[in-house]
Structure formats: structure tokens, C-alpha cells
């Protein structure tokens, strides 16, 4: 009888999220952007626990068709091992721990023809990002309709140029809460989000050498030494990143924790060796660090530094940002 009183905040949150869900199912109106405050979740998840995850039996069983409807192969006879429609191209960029999706949304217009996926272990956060992408796509659709039909209402937005020839710097015209009034290349059809524990199941989603870029942005620092095993960067996990990353592919990292930055460097690069001694073979052999000059030319680094939710928080806090990007080298020759 003495039922626990449900906090008002939670009731409100649940109601809001139900509405967002309902709005997505109806197709008539332009969908409003979801609000982050209703999707907050504790910043940590235990990567060792089973959770209740859904993951494909193998990459060949992964059905991407609902994630990228604009890229579904028109040939209906082409299906994957689980019967889903095939895409015209493969997913090749992954944001591990994408959070609220700032990086995905920032990268989408930069690489409009590249399929990208954000992976996140926390359900609420993932729900937000899925709603956000859905809303962005719907907004783009209505903007495109308007542009094609200028006779309709609101003729004043002359700034809206379809497929605007944007410079390499992404315009911050896209507000998290309001959405955008601009048409972006790709119309956000090339990004999606999936709930997953990549520490366990990354190879279930992506095949050998499938990816061209992996992003690890502001990972959970797991400050305590006995939690270091839960860090997303480790020599043994780096072997898995190397497995899914093609030779020449890039792995981007950014953190505001200096110690974590050194941890990243330590786990991707060989330290100084005593004279004459070769370093012990490890997954460090599979990566090399990219120079500052090369980074300066990479627009993805700018997005990573300024567009992600966490990076904005760090900027507000006047914190430091440490970037390290590594290139996947070719596998070593088999020993004779």
C-alpha cells in the first residue's frame, strides 16, 4: 500500500519522453528538437556488466537499413544474413561513447557521403540522440520542401541556400535545442546512433578493416587506479580497434584529463627504450602518431575540439583539451 512517491521530476521527464516518442511516430508536422534536460543520465556505466544489450550475431547480420533509410540499396533482392536490406555503402566512421551526439551532428555535413554511427552504452542518452537525429532529418526535409516551393510561407529567409557551399569549418548555425534553419549537405541522413558496449561487442558490428575513422572523445577517465581496467583505451582493446580499422585509418582521441592523455600516449606508442633494446611487440606496433601540422589541416579535429557537448563544457570551465590522433599502420609481416 505505501507506494513510494515518484518524484515529480521523473514524472515530468517520462511524460516528455513519451511525447517525443509519439511525435516521432506521427509523420505530419516538423518534429521539434528534443531537450537534453529530460534525458540526463549518470555519466558512468559498468562496461563489465551484461546489461541488456542487443547486438548482431556478426557484422554480416547487422541490419543498418532502418538507420540509414536514404542509403538503402534500391535492389530489394540484396539482403544481409538476417534478411535486412543492404546499403549502397558501408559504415566507416564510429564515435565510441558518442554521448549526446555533438560530434556526429558536427561531422555529418563535413562528410556527407560517409556513413557514421555513434555508439553509447547509456539508454537515456542514446534515446535523446536518436530523437535529435530524427528531428534534424525532419527539419531538413521541410526546409528542402520550402526551398523547392518558395511561394509558401516565410519568404524572408534568403540565407537558406540549398546545399550551401559551406567552408570546411562547420557553421554553428545548428543549435542543439532549436535545430537549424539551414540546409546542410547530407541532411543528416548519414548519421545514426546505436546502444552498445563497444568494449565487448565492437567486432559484432564491424568487420576486419571496415572503418576509416574511430573517435574516442572525452572518455570516462576512471580516475581510481583499480578502475583503470575499465578505461576505453588499453593495449588489448587497441588490438580490437586495429582489427576494425583499415590500414591508413585514423583513431582520434581527445580528453581534458592530462593524466589520461599520457595514458593514451603510453598505450598507443612505445616509450623510450634502453639503448639497443627493441621494444616488446605489442599493439603499439600497429599505430603511429600524427603530427601537429597534419592535425591542423583536419577539420574533424576542429569538430572534436569545439562541437562536442563535453568540449563545450571544458571550454566554459576554461579547461585544457589534449588531442592525440593515431594512424593505423599495416600489419607486420608474419615471422619467417
Amino acid at each position: 500500500m505505501a507506494t513510494q512517491k515518484i518524484p515529480a521530476k521523473r514524472i515530468k521527464r517520462e511524460e516528455y519522453r513519451r511525447n517525443v516518442q509519439a511525435q516521432q511516430e506521427s509523420t505530419d508536422a516538423v518534429i521539434k528538437m528534443p531537450q537534453k534536460k529530460f534525458f540526463r543520465q549518470r555519466a558512468h556505466a559498468n562496461p563489465f556488466s551484461d546489461h541488456r544489450l542487443e547486438y548482431p550475431l556478426s557484422p554480416a547480420h547487422m541490419d543498418w537499413s532502418s538507420h540509414y533509410p536514404a542509403f538503402v540499396d534500391p535492389d530489394t533482392s540484396k539482403t544481409n544474413l538476417s534478411g535486412g536490406r543492404k546499403l549502397t555503402k558501408e559504415v566507416e566512421v564510429v564515435d565510441i561513447g558518442c554521448g549526446f551526439g555533438g560530434l556526429m551532428v558536427g561531422l555529418a555535413p563535413l562528410l556527407p557521403d560517409t556513413l557514421m554511427v555513434g555508439m553509447e552504452i547509456r539508454t537515456s542518452v542514446l534515446e535523446y540522440l536518436s530523437s535529435r537525429i530524427h528531428a534534424l532529418r525532419s527539419q531538413q526535409q521541410s526546409l528542402k520542401n520550402k526551398a523547392a516551393n518558395p511561394s509558401s510561407t516565410e519568404p524572408q529567409d534568403a540565407s537558406t541556400q540549398p546545399e550551401s557551399a559551406e567552408s570546411t569549418v562547420p557553421a554553428p548555425a545548428n543549435d542543439d535545442e532549436i535545430g537549424t534553419e539551414k540546409i546542410f549537405p547530407g541532411n543528416f541522413e548519414n548519421i545514426t546512433a546505436i546502444r552498445s558496449n563497444t568494449m565487448k561487442f565492437l567486432p559484432n558490428f564491424f568487420g576486419h578493416h571496415q572503418l576509416s575513422k574511430i573517435f574516442i572523445c572525452f572518455p570516462d577517465p576512471h580516475f581510481k587506479a583499480r578502475k583503470h581496467k575499465a578505461r576505453i583505451v588499453s593495449e588489448s582493446l587497441n588490438s580490437e580497434y586495429a582489427y576494425v580499422l583499415r590500414p591508413g585509418g585514423l583513431l582520434y582521441t581527445i580528453t581534458d584529463v592530462e593524466e589520461y592523455h599520457h595514458w593514451v600516449l603510453r598505450h598507443f606508442l612505445h616509450g623510450e627504450q634502453p639503448e639497443g633494446a627493441a621494444p616488446a611487440p605489442s599493439s603499439k606496433d600497429l599505430f603511429e602518431r600524427i603530427s601537429e601540422e597534419e592535425l591542423a589541416l583536419d577539420p574533424c579535429v576542429q569538430v572534436m575540439k569545439y562541437e562536442t557537448e563535453e568540449s563545450k563544457k571544458v571550454t566554459r570551465n576554461k579547461g585544457n583539451k589534449y588531442v592525440a590522433v593515431f594512424r593505423r599502420k599495416a600489419d607486420p609481416e608474419w615471422p619467417a
Binding site: D50, S58, S236, S239, D285, A336
Partner: protein
């Protein structure tokens, strides 16, 4: 025989004919390791020596100094409390006087053999990898003991048999030399005072800021207590890691073919349905393949010595998968008796026996046992690399382990002497012989009377105390039948 006796848990056949010596059978039962003459069944040695005689001093001579004061028997959970605290706790606990011995393990679940003259074992509760020498007379003597950070789930050797490969329940695979080379000097990090890696630039909430300040104060207070962990205090390398419970680890050599030379691989399996194919040491950081097809944990991997391209795998699914493992190609799905969610594969063994007078053809057989089942499934590997079920053998107890005895053209099966057939918990009232032997005769495996087996069975293994409490019974049963715990329960969390 009266009373209950420990069943054999591991069997290894040591072929030493090339060295001009007689073959030896290695077996573990309870907390002991036995060596037998493989032709007469004569027991050659027991390790550790029984404690009642003065022999104890003798056995501990061989052990390193730390061995003589090993902590009392204690089942440890894989929990996150610090090792130091735990060690201190267990040390201070009074020794259990009811127990026969004060040693630190109750069973030896993993055994492997190197160069025909070393036996490598893991003793269970103390998580210790021990290397013993096996001399010409079959005597066992401990050469080294190395403590691992977590309990191991698999133990094998690199193809050159000079290095041990050990996979643990935390998903890590280590390699270290069979014989430790010289004195290991631990690379000691300069005593560093604790410094929180978070700074007031990296934490954002008020509460976190407060706790950071608290940490800083704490760090300033306690700069002294930096006790060293005793684990991994030897030369070693971490070569593979799964973020999952590692269940199995095998080392495979693919012989040279027309396009590529001889190549070594390491195959690992985990609780999250994965089978991973990595290159062999020293390139084990290069993952070559994943074999996807199981929908429950994988507990057994078998690459037949006579067909190294093929992998047979099983676990919590009620089927086996036969693979071309380098290509992630399923060649065959083999249905097993029992329903989904209940059937668990305990072991898959490949046996190849040289032709004998009874069988002109060499024997190439695959055997499969299910957890808590007294049936043994017999298969043959066909030329198209699929397996065919021949027949099913009924044994007198649950099948625990199997080994082929080349010199006799037979197989030895270890059966559970304690639990009733087809039960993992109900106990028998008296023991039966721990070993059964079979030989192939016109396409069927038939029981054989073997003087060697009769000899081993007549001597038996170590006895359990005459009165054994229910709780201890359960503990013993759980340590013998623990694969069911690998099944996921689907707990809900966010």
C-alpha cells in the same frame, strides 16, 4: 573400496618413446597430482607428498620460501577489494583444524605438459601456476610457483613448449617462460605519492569538486602505506585481452601449404559468444579473425591434431559448430541432445591413435561430453571436414575428462566418482572406479578390461573424510560443475 574418493579431474598422456623412456600418465584428483606408468598402471608419484609422514619437509624443500607459509585454504571471489587487505585478512584467520591439510588449494583444474619432462598445473584457490619436473622415474618435483592476479580458466604452451600461455577469468592472456630465466627484478616504479589525476579543471559538479578536495587532503595525510602486491612478481607479458570472462585458450600451428609457410595462432573464447583468432606469440596483438555463430557462451575449443584447419566449438548452445576457423566459415552445425538453455558442452577431445592389430586404419575420433552427463558422444571427422555421430557410450558416472592412450590403442575416460549419474549435485553413497577404458573394434567403441586401468582403479585416489557436511559437498560440486554460471541471466539495468 570403501568411502568416497575424489574423481580424476585432468588426465594427460606423456609420450616419451622418442626419448627411449616409458610413457607416463599424469592425473589430478582432489588436491593431488599423480603420475602413473602408462603400461603397468603402477603409481609412480603423488604430489604434494602426503602430510602425515615427515615427507612434508621434503616437498616444501622444493618450494620457494613463500610456499611454506601459504595462506590457509580460502575460496576467493573475484571482487574488487584490494588484494592487500584480503591477504591480511586471510593471514590472520585461524587455520581450519578440521581440514586434513593446511594447504592452500582443494583442486587442480588445469594441467599441461611440456617437453615430456615438465608438468605445468594451476592450483585452484591460490591461483598459482606451478611447474614441476617429471623425471625418468616419473617423480614429480616442484620447480617454481607463480601467483596470478586472477584465477585461470585455461593453461597451455606455445608451440615450442618453452613458454606458458595462461588465460584468466578477467579476460587476459599472459605468457611467461616455462623455466624462469634467472632472477626477476621487478621494475620498481619510484615510490610515487598518490596524486589524483582529476584536477579542478576536469571536474564540473560541486559535489565532485568537494570529493576531489577530500582526496587531496587524504593523499597528503597518508603518504606511507604503499604495500606491494605479491601477484605477477615474475617475468611475464600480457598478450591478449577480452573484456569478458575468458573460457578457453588453445595454441594451434597450421602447417605450411603452397602459399604460406608454417604459422602459429592462438584461439581464445569468452562468455560473450566470441571466438577470437590471433596470431601466435610474438604477434599475438594482431587479431586475424572472429568466428561468429554461437548465441551463448563458448566453453570448449578443439582443433584436431590431425586436421588443424578445422575447429569444433561448443558451450551453452545445444549445438556444436564445426569451422574453417581462419575464414570464419561454419562448415556444420551439429545438434546435441537436450534443450536450448540447458545443454552445456563440458569438453571436446580429439583422439588420434596409430593402427593396432585390431584396427588397420589409424583412428581419428572426436569425443564430446556434456556437463553433468554420463554419456559420451563419439564422432568421426569426415574427409569433407564435417563430423558424423557414430554412437553414444553410457558410462558409470558423469564424464569429466578423456585422453587417448596411443600405445594401447584405447581411450581412458575419467568419470565422476562422487555425484550420481546425470546429476551435478546429488551424491553417491559409495565410490566407483574413477577410470573406464574403451577400444575401437569394427567401428564401435567397446569397453575393454585393461590391466593398467584395473591397477590404477584398485589403488584409487585420495579419500574424502567419512563424514562430509552438505555445505562442503555443495562447494565440491560447484567447483567441479561451474559452467552453468556462465549463462547470462538478463538482469535489467540502464
Amino acid at each position: 573400496m570403501a568411502g568416497l574418493q575424489h574423481p580424476f579431474q585432468c588426465l594427460r598422456y606423456v609420450n616419451r618413446q622418442s626419448a627411449g623412456q616409458s610413457d607416463i600418465l599424469i592425473a589430478t584428483a582432489g588436491r593431488n597430482l599423480y603420475s602413473y606408468d602408462a603400461s603397468s598402471g603402477q603409481r609412480l608419484d603423488v604430489w604434494p607428498q602426503p602430510v602425515d609422514a615427515n615427507a612434508e619437509d621434503k616437498s616444501s624443500d622444493a618450494a620457494p620460501a613463500s610456499e611454506s607459509q601459504a595462506p590457509p585454504e580460502k575460496r576467493r571471489k573475484l571482487s574488487s577489494t584490494t588484494e592487500e587487505q584480503k591477504d591480511a585478512k586471510s593471514e590472520s584467520k585461524p587455520k581450519d583444524s578440521n581440514k586434513e591439510t593446511s594447504n592452500s588449494w582443494t583442486n587442480i583444474p588445469l594441467v599441461t605438459v611440456a617437453h615430456g619432462k615438465y608438468v605445468v598445473i594451476m592450483t585452484s584457490e591460490d591461483k598459482c601456476v606451478r611447474v614441476l619436473s617429471l623425471d625418468n622415474e616419473g617423480k614429480l618435483q616442484q620447480l617454481s610457483a607463480r601467483t596470478m592476479p586472477k584465477k585461470l580458466s585455461a593453461l597451455t604452451m606455445t608451440p615450442d613448449e618453452d613458454n606458458i600461455l595462461a588465460g584468466d577469468k578477467f579476460g587476459d592472456v599472459y605468457t611467461f617462460p616455462l623455466v624462469p630465466s634467472g632472477e626477476y627484478v621487478k621494475v620498481q616504479a619510484p615510490a610515487k605519492s598518490y596524486e589524483p589525476s582529476a584536477t579542478n579543471l576536469t571536474v564540473h559538479t560541486k559535489r565532485n569538486l568537494e570529493s576531489l578536495e577530500q582526496q587531496m587532503r587524504q593523499a597528503a595525510l597518508s603518504k606511507t602505506n604503499q604495500s606491494e602486491r605479491v601477484v605477477l612478481n615474475f617475468e611475464h607479458q600480457l598478450i591478449i585481452g577480452h573484456v569478458s570472462l575468458l573460457t578457453e585458450l588453445i595454441s594451434v600451428t597450421r602447417p605450411a601449404d603452397t602459399t604460406v609457410g608454417k604459422r602459429n595462432y592462438i584461439l581464445t573464447a569468452d562468455r560473450d559468444e566470441h571466438i577470437r583468432v590471433s596470431r601466435g606469440v610474438p604477434q599475438s596483438h594482431v587479431i586475424e579473425q572472429f568466428c561468429f555463430g554461437h548465441t551463448s557462451f563458448v566453453s570448449s575449443l578443439c582443433v584436431p591434431s590431425f586436421e588443424p584447419k578445422v575447429l569444433i566449438s561448443g558451450g551453452g548452445d545445444n549445438y556444436l559448430l564445426v569451422w574453417d576457423w581462419l575464414e570464419n566459415e561454419i562448415l556444420q552445425k551439429v545438434q546435441l541432445p537436450g534443450s536450448e538453455g540447458e545443454t552445456t558442452v563440458r569438453g571436446i577431445w580429439d583422439v588420434s591413435l596409430a593402427p593396432t592389430t585390431d584396427n588397420a586404419e589409424p583412428v581419428k575420433a572426436i569425443f564430446v561430453a556434456l556437463e553433468g552427463s554420463s554419456q559420451l558422444l563419439c564422432y568421426t571427422l569426415e574427409s569433407d571436414n564435417t563430423i558424423t555421430h557414430q554412437h553414444t557410450l553410457q558410462l558409470s558416472g558423469n564424464v569429466l575428462e578423456l585422453v587417448g592412450i596411443d600405445s594401447r590403442g584405447s581411450i581412458l575416460v575419467a568419470v565422476d566418482t562422487l555425484r550420481q549419474s546425470d546429476s551435478t549435485s546429488a551424491w553417491k553413497s559409495s565410490s566407483q572406479p574413477p577410470l573406464e577404458s574403451f577400444r575401437l573394434s569394427s567401428g564401435k567403441w567397446i569397453p575393454v578390461e585393461d590391466s593398467m586401468v584395473i591397477k590404477i582403479n584398485s589403488e584409487g585416489t585420495s579419500s574424502l573424510p567419512t563424514t562430509i557436511e552438505q555445505k562442503e559437498q555443495k562447494e565440491l560440486s560447484d567447483s567441479m560443475y561451474n559452467l552453468g554460471n556462465l549463462r547470462k541471466r538478463g538482469d535489467y539495468d540502464e
